[in-house]
Amino acid sequence: MSAELATPAAEEKKEFWRWQENTWFDESKNWRDAKIITCGIDVGSVSSQAVICCDGELFGYNSMRTGNNSPDSAKNALQGILDKTGMKLEDIHYTVGTGYGRVNVPFANKAVTEIACHARGANYMGGSKVRTILDMGGQDCKAIHCDERGKVTNFLMNDKCAAGTGRGMEVIADLMQIPIANLGPRSFDVETEPEAVSSICVVFAKSEALALLKAGYTKNMVIAAYCQAMAERVVSLLERIGVEEGFFITGGIAKNPGVVKRIERLLGIQAVETKIDSQIAGALGASLFAYTLMQKQAKAA
């Protein structure tokens, strides 16, 4: 009897943490008209992106989950956009790899750190007024200061602890059995804003969330408490380097309004908005670095 009950439940197991992979390219442009085609590949701990720029302008991108093999993840990410556009690898003049798997991009001409690439990408996406960048990645978090050209002037990274990263949000999505894209909007559906759960450890936050559910908190209240904890955590990182107007958020968590709005509330400033997918900032920056390097080579020749 118990086996009969257990089987259907096991089959219905859903991956609530799974976020939307996507591909886009500018159909109004013809890449064959471009003089310089550059590519940026960001192999992150959770997601991989390939961005193609034509003459220093965004042309298309593909964003997907990173597998267990960095070279394959890089190839798959690029293949996704090449297939859509009808482009071939040989058509790309220069490729820059970034992210934690940057040294494992087999077709990259150069590797640049994700810190420099995110600053460059944010400068393109948010404009030259962007000065403070928060990159909330899958398994790390970076606070970056840059100048009007997108050159890094100050940065810090936290890659030792999962608090304040996308992984923490995935854990809560699975715990609550709510799709990760719904967490942000649902965190506002509360009568009173609850106290934040632990902001120093994802494991402790998960234990605390379970205790709150047992104490009678609704799922929405627990999500709100977790979003607040995540916001407090990253704000403490930002305050270490100082926050200036022109605040921009990159990475997957930038798509979670529950965290973004709470960060804005704590800092007292609005984040610069963009229509471009926040997850591609690193790969976009890498592609722009590639364009600059190509221009330098052309001048030298």
């Binding site: 810190i115 050159k151 100050n154 810090l156 890659d159 380097i241």
Partner: protein, 94 residues
Amino acid sequence: MIANNGYKDGSGEFYISIDTDKCIDCSADRACLTACPKGMFEIITDDYDDEVACVKKSFTRSLAFDCSECKPSGGYTTLPCTSACTPGAIKHSW
């Protein structure tokens, strides 16, 4: 550029900050490389093609333990790395 190498966890904030603008034309002849008893510093070419000092990646997640010998509890009154860096590029957050 100020590069903060280190981490924040439940026990506190542990960052070694290096002001690379002061580090590029080092007037101390890269003394940090030999001053650190654990050899935690190395010279790298950064993303902007400048040769600067950096904390080795293998130490960035364990600074609280690795630097403990050079703190007052280890008998030091000043940190060997910050003393050796006469341009004042190196700072500890704790």
